[in-house]
Symmetry: C2
Subunit: 597 residues, 2 copies
């Protein structure tokens, strides 16, 4: 506990959270100056120092710990929360304590104890435990807690040490394996090619990569030689909680600061991706001078979705059938951010469409259930409150549709009441199309909870064969919750969440919608996305779409042991809209056609 954090040493301990190619010069360029040291992410070393402090403090409440938890403290796991205070410069974090249990998620077994640690000072010896929370009450020190317990004035909920097989959330097998279900096989091997970080498949060409912080990113997505997307990248994943425990109610994780890419671990063959998938390693630099490798942490495969991409059967006028299977190229990586697992999918269809999807799974985060806890979620165990939260994710999609100069077009329907042209005494409510071109960024920023035009597309100035602007349409699938009120002192740090979709002029100096430094100083955000939207014109410009998707998650009994992916997937499509002269899938060698002729 004599560690000293050195703000003048660029390599210790923060550097690693930035990019492989990052260095101080780039940091200066990116943020227009030195980033204050207090904004740095918390490193593994810092967590170890904090854990040591907490362990020392727990020693001061031995009889309480024995009574509440059958514990001496050493077998309790701590879970960090974030942000860490109320104003810039603060570094005071609630840690929630759980019964630890090898081989299963401790996240479901809170013991009711939470501690507030100030770890701002550069000298670890000056760090302090500031507050203690237990079962609805706050104390100044663990000593006070012990004193009240000994005096008999503390209401203690006595928990047994969890037992290996009965523990809430265990995934140990309960039945012998069944015969295997259907499996994919590729009779003649894969039909896609992977060379270094480049994939080709049936007209598609994609460069893939992984940012250790912000996670998966694709570049130069081309179809039939033409670039459609310059950059398609995850920016941020926010998890914002409600609870009546201090740790839970403080929690607004910005996962990019923890490292969505670096925590994308090895994928399990046959479960996380098909056996036949191609697995590639990802390398990153974090908290060390030496690069690290996550082996087989990204997979690529062709998937038979068991659905036609298109089909028509005719027995009127003439008998024929035409169709094509929906075989999709999938690029996947899965990030485990402490308790949660996000499955990041990027899919490429034979129709020229790109589909982006994220599913949430893994362990929920919980609070110790006390008093009106169920105002913030559902009880999912004897003393466990599954705490409600938002999962909101942000993507950058730098579409370049038939060149860099694009405009934004919307289309929607209305009804017009007209006299019937052939029978003027009668009227009909007729749908018609309202086409609109959005001229400025402010018009193109759609609030999270407001209706959107049903069709919205990036349009090129060039027409297709039929005279319509060559376009790609953006279609989102999302069940988002409510964005944090803008009156919140930290709202600007997640102000990308205000918009389900915003389209801005592309700027070199606006490469990302957030920063790894936003988590620990959300009150003075290093990057505030809302500032990108300053009503610049967006006609015939290089444009970027910023897309938010997410869902409100109220955990329920069936989130134990893990949240299931069914119904918990959100994302978006990029679909050709008069980009081609006809559906490109007609050229597919997989097409099927037969007729009675």
């Amino acid at each position: 506990s004599t560690s000293i954090y050195n703000q003048n040493d660029p390599w210790t301990p923060t550097v690693a959270f930035t990019d492989f190619i990052n260095n101080e010069t780039i940091t200066n360029e990116k943020y227009g100056g030195k980033v204050p040291y207090h904004r740095r992410p918390v490193t593994g070393k810092e967590y170890m120092d904090i854990n040591a402090l907490i362990q020392r403090e727990l020693k001061k409440a031995p009889s309480f710990l024995a009574a509440c938890c059958e514990s001496d403290g050493t077998d309790l796991a701590i879970l960090t929360t974030a942000p860490r205070g109320f104003k810039s410069g603060d570094r005071t974090t609630w840690f929630v304590l759980f019964h630890n249990m090898a081989g299963t998620g401790y996240y479901l077994s809170p013991v009711g104890l939470e501690v507030l640690v100030e770890h701002k000072d550069l000298h670890v010896s000056n760090w302090q435990l500031h507050k203690v929370f237990y079962n609805g009450r706050y104390f100044a020190t663990t000593g006070d807690l012990e004193q009240e317990f000994v005096a008999g004035t503390l209401e203690v909920v006595k928990l047994k040490q969890p037992q290996a097989d009965a523990v809430l959330g265990s995934m140990k097998l309960r039945s012998p394996p069944d015969s295997p279900g259907p499996l994919h096989f590729e009779a003649q091997g894969p039909r896609y090619r992977v060379r270094d970080n480049h994939i080709t498949f049936q007209g598609w060409s994609i460069a893939f990569g992984m940012n250790p912080n912000s996670g998966p990113r694709l570049f130069d997505i081309r179809y039939r030689g033409e670039r459609i997307v310059y950059e398609l990248s995850l920016q941020e994943a926010l998890a914002l909680y409600g609870s009546n425990c201090p740790g839970g109610m403080s929690t607004r994780y910005l996962d990019g600061s923890f490292g969505i890419g670096r925590f994308a671990y090895e994928l399990v063959r046959g479960l996380d991706c098909p056996y036949t998938a191609t697995y590639v390693d990802r390398h990153y630099l974090a908290e060390s001078d030496a690069p690290k490798t996550n082996q087989n942490s990204l997979c690529i495969f062709e998937h038979d979705s068991a659905l036609p991409l298109r089909r028509h059967f005719s027995d009127s006028q003439s008998f024929y059938y035409g169709g094509l299977r929906k075989n999709t190229l999938v690029i996947r990586t899965i990030s485990t951010l402490i308790n949660y697992d996000y499955i990041w999918d990027f899919m490429f269809h034979g129709s020229g469409a790109v589909e982006v999807r994220v599913h949430a799974t893994g362990y929920i985060s919980t609070s110790f259930l006390h008093r009106r806890g169920t105002d913030y979620g559902n009880r999912v165990g004897p003393h466990t409150l599954g705490t409600m939260h938002l999962h909101h994710m942000h993507y950058k999609v730098d579409l370049d549709v038939d060149g860099q100069l694009n405009s934004l077009e919307t289309q929607d329907m209305e009804y017009e009441l007209i006299k019937d042209p052939w029978s003027m005494q009668n009227t009909i409510e007729r749908p018609y199309l309202r086409r609109k071109s959005l001229e400025r960024e402010d018009e193109a920023a759609f609030p999270l909870d407001a209706p959107m035009p049903r069709y919205l597309s990036f349009a090129s100035p060039n027409p297709n064969k039929w005279g319509h602007p060559r376009s790609y349409r953006i279609q989102t699938v999302s069940f988002a919750g409510k964005h944090l009120p803008t009156s919140s002192s930290m709202e600007r740090s997640v102000s990308w969440g205000r918009y389900q979709l915003a389209v801005t002029r592309r700027k070199e100096e606006e490469p990302t919608s957030t920063s790894i430094y936003n988590q620990n100083d959300p009150w003075t955000p290093t990057v505030a996305f809302a500032d990108f939207i300053n009503n610049e014109t967006i006609t015939s410009e290089d444009l970027v779409a910023w897309i938010s998707v997410g869902f409100l998650h109220v955990p329920h009994a069936e989130d134990v042991p893990n949240t299931v992916t069914v119904g918990n997937g959100v994302g978006f499509f990029l679909r050709p809209y008069n980009y081609f002269d006809e559906d490109p899938s007609v050229d597919s060698p997989d097409s099927v056609y037969f007729s009675s002729e």
Copy 2:
């Protein structure tokens, strides 16, 4: 043309559109009396009689037809529209004429000619052609059209006879086949069982059937022996068009009247469903005394979705991995309604969730492009306007959650601004859960375009282990357009479309939300769903959820030859919500778990 339609003969020609078990007695019981004869669906025989009339009339415009279409009329195909007039009793239908072409969809090749036929009289000899439309102008007769053409006062768009391989929308192969993509195989055969109309799979038990009119329907859906759904059935599919041609602008197809079930044809093995699927025949009675069979028209298979149902990887505190593949039982049937193909899927997950999904594919319907046609869609061919339309579908879901007596509960989030309990000078915006019980039908009818509570579930009075009502949640995925204004004289016939979700008390006398008779007399609907919603109490009652899903479809170049399924799927989930005490998939024999211990 001496046919006489006999309204006193219950078997000719309408009977067939009702159920297998249907007869006059049941009809009386179902609709509280005899259904007026003018409401009957149009039979194949009636279309043939109409076609003969149109062919006779076309003979009166030989030089016009030769000029416009290189045709003598006999090689033109007619496409019906519906409804057929403006008031009850009308039976006057616009037919749109297309260049016919064996082996491909003529729907993309309108020649600009449309004719209005009155076919109300019971004597075919009294039927008449009422109006003729060509390229933006209306004429009283085909003779008038010919006369104007001969006089040189008609603006004619000269179209060539379509050529076999160059025709718009041809699906003939353009490339030699590639190596096959990934295929499913079942090493030890299927893991589900089908006996008669009954399926079992990993705790699921489902009875399936097909109504020749309204299409697929499931009964008595059970999981682990407990009934969850008594009936899950498609009710209707509406396609409502805009156009500046009379046929197009009149079109509001109610597909149930045409026959969603009877037009579910044989499925193509390996494309419509996997090779390994189980295919079953469906039988129906329509327009004949003898039953007919659609062979292999429903398929059942287990699908490897190539996604984990759940997974968690841990390398913090201890190293372990738990997961399960998302293998889904799928029941599928595909209806071809003239030009369009709807893929109806019902999916059963290892988490106890049911997923219902419909994808649209097949040929779009089109109008001849003239004047401001693109106010109603996009040009997709030399003279072809892909006309905008809604696809709205309606489902009945008679959930019985832990018994018949259910209530409707909603949950949603709000933020509350509170003082921080441990630091009272600071405030925090905290999410909390707003739980509500809906007491009456009017509160439980959610307009199509209004926000819905984020969580909505059918709740039993009985708690799960943790004290929460055992419930199933309804979650919809839809991109619906705008519902027809209620001021429309036919709106009550599709008044189910007002609501994205409505929950009513179950009534024997409210078995369906529509009727096959609504199409041809929408002005006096035989069933008007809106009447079901009469503010009855819905607490602890046998309840039914009625769910609308759909999307606005603005056809674009890539809808040729066929609409693709990517992005054109909508549906809903029924998800356990505190129904169990934990996720039932933990018991799955397919579960995987390993740890470093």
